[in-house]
């Protein structure tokens, strides 16, 4: 048995404002085909499959059951699902491989935000007795966090605008991005957040393949080895949290081994420009680290897949030889309540 598990392949859709012409399965299938094609594996060759999605986003119970049809689960497969971002599906698959019960895993996730009002939908994930009845939407909650940062003197509005501009500028080289280039900051949505500070609303899907040890080396020229991965959750109520900090991100990073050696790349799941500020501080990232070369969540935010895309983008940079040691981060819940951090490394090149 081996400790070594790597991301060996990654695929994602083009992220779009709407995809009325596609069901979730239809949106997902090309991504599944593509990621399998990268490795030459077929569904039947995969040791474990795990997905992440949300019934509330899909607007129906057991929405993930249909996605399984797209995988082609016949003969029957060893499979599981988390009602979370796909980054946590990847975590479950990683653990499964660590037990030695599988040596490859297919992980996928998808989300269509376009059929509903995602700002309203996300209010349903708040405390159902005290908070959800007030319908505070995701932008309003993030604005509280942004204002707390400004009040603490950590950032000002022009700096937030610069974060947004840098992400979208980087997204110019990302053919899958929904927003790229010179995107106007626009009007306030909820002060102090302007349209440009917020991730776009869109539909998309992503998939990765994990493999252990020599299997990974066979499937990928330069595997992105998962050197550590951890996730932590914080209290739900915003009133008991310091919104200018992310202790769960810092703890997860510590456990994942981030601080043992510098990283050269970080893919951060920050759906708001202000959240990148919080995450950079929690992770001690200075200007030497390339943050969100893909454009991050500000360039494309397929809810439930955005975190998995961060892991995939970080791995893809290692595959391409553009990074040797990368950090990938995913978040869930209001104002960065839950955070996952992984460290990915490429082996030294001869």
């Amino acid at each position: 048995m081996t400790h070594d598990v790597a991301i060996v392949a990654f695929a994602q859709t083009d992220h779009r404002r709407r995809s009325d012409d596609l069901s979730e399965v239809e949106m997902l299938m090309p991504v599944l085909h593509e990621v399998l094609a990268h490795t030459g594996l077929k569904t039947g060759d995969i040791g474990f499959t795990c997905s992440g999605s949300s019934d509330y986003l899909a607007g129906r119970a057991f929405s993930f059951t249909m996605a399984l049809d797209g995988v082609g689960a016949w003969p029957p497969i060893s499979e599981s699902h988390v009602e979370m971002d796909g980054a946590w599906a990847l975590y479950e698959a990683w653990v499964k491989i660590l037990t030695g019960e599988a040596d490859t895993a297919l992980v996928y996730s998808y989300g269509k935000s376009s059929p509903g009002q995602v700002r309203d939908v996300l209010t349903r994930q708040l405390d159902p007795y005290y908070l959800a009845p007030l319908w505070p939407d995701s932008v309003a909650l993030a604005a509280l966090q942004a204002q707390a940062l400004i009040d603490a003197g950590s950032v000002d509005e022009p700096e937030l605008a610069a974060v947004a501009a840098r992400n979208r500028d980087d997204a110019r080289t990302n053919p899958h991005a929904q927003l790229s280039g010179s995107v106007p900051q626009g009007e306030y949505i909820v002060q102090p957040l302007r349209a440009g500070d917020c991730s776009p609303i869109g539909d998309g899907a992503a998939a990765v393949i994990l493999a252990a040890g020599d299997r990974a080396r066979d499937l990928c020229e330069r595997p992105a080895w998962i050197r550590g991965m951890d996730h932590r959750i914080e209290a739900h109520s915003l009133g008991v949290r310091d919104l200018t900090d992310s202790p769960s991100t810092r703890l997860a990073a510590q456990r994942a081994g981030v601080f043992e050696r510098p990283v050269d790349t970080a893919e951060l799941h920050a759906p708001f420009s202000s959240q990148e500020v919080v995450l950079r501080r929690a992770l001690d990232l200075d200007d030497s680290v390339r943050v969100n070369p893909s454009g991050g969540a500000l360039a494309a935010n397929p809810v439930m897949a955005t975190g998995l895309v961060r892991l995939g983008e970080a791995a893809a940079r290692i595959h391409r030889g553009e990074s040797d040691r990368a950090l990938a981060h995913a978040t869930s819940g209001p104002c960065l309540q839950q955070n996952l951090v992984a460290v990915l490394e490429g082996e030294d090149r001869a």
Partner: protein, 393 residues
Amino acid sequence: MPDTARGKEPVAVVGVGQTKHVAARRDVSIAGLVREAARRALDDAELTWADIDAVVIGKAPDFFEGVMMPELYLADALGAVGKPMLRVHTAGSVGGSTALVASNLVASRVHGTVLTLAFEKQSESNAMWGLSLPVPFQQPLLAGAGGFFAPHVRAYMRRTGAPDTVGSLVAYKDRRNALKNPYAHLHEHDITLEKVQASPMLWDPIRYSETCPSSDGACAMILTDRAGASRAPNAPAWVHGGAMRSEPTMFAGKDFVSPQAGKDCAADVYRQAGVTDPRREIDAVEMYVPFSWYEPMWLENLGFAAEGEGWKLTESGVTELDGDLPVNPSGGVLSTNPIGASGMIRFAEAALQVRGRAGEHQVEGARRALGHAYGGGSQFFSMWLVGAEPPRT
């Protein structure tokens, strides 16, 4: 990093907690409900919240309570703040899958001691219509789960020639077993076979008394490694095998009466546990039977009976509490169905049996027990086999 070079870490169940399952727990919030079960599991293990390294939580669809990803709001109630928290959702099999994900965290040595919990507060909604959302271009679940499963029961009867009395025998048995289980939802003290048979036909051939109730409830377990087990105050149950299998919802080759995924899942568990003759080597079964006819169907699917013979085991009394292969000594899903928790209750009840802590519904001398769950259109399966002895490694 976890040390997997030494093979898998053995996993022990050292704590089990359930709520008293009822139609509506109006006295507690969702958080209060889950905390009650978790607290009881911790008490059983004589551990505190601080001893828990991670939390793995499961439930069936979020629409049942109207809370999207409720684990976020439940982090505080389950002592998860500052810890990892994973949320599993695999339809009706979720309670079992959740326990298996937690078990893997220990087996891989990522964590030493894990709290796993599953719940449903069905009184917050209406399960039948929650399962009947119309979806374009595909067959809806036809007025709840019963509407979906009734034709497959009918197919089983036609295929095996089972007499139409078998379903009522199962319901009569499970409801009597439930009387011995203080946590069971339905306690029908005046139950008789005649009453079951005289109950209204809901989805032919499924009668009212052959269906599960809608329950509020939660179930929790504490899973730990070898070191944790050695400190446990009560006898642990050891995980000898666990597996999940899935197949597509609908396709021409699917056998709805005895799905291949169920057969494969059981075979994998038996292989891991070194079981070659489940009928003789397993002492008790907690099987996911939401409609009574699924007992004989799953007896065949799980390899306890040859194809077409499952109903004969049931009819001959083998699956009674004092029979040779007791099935659902707890009263089963037929007596208690908080959907998201039902699978974990099966897993937990199997653990209680081999720990000798099942109380009045204890199967005497149970050394190995199977916990079984399924979900979706009979497409998701999760199972584990637990034993009184540690697994041979």
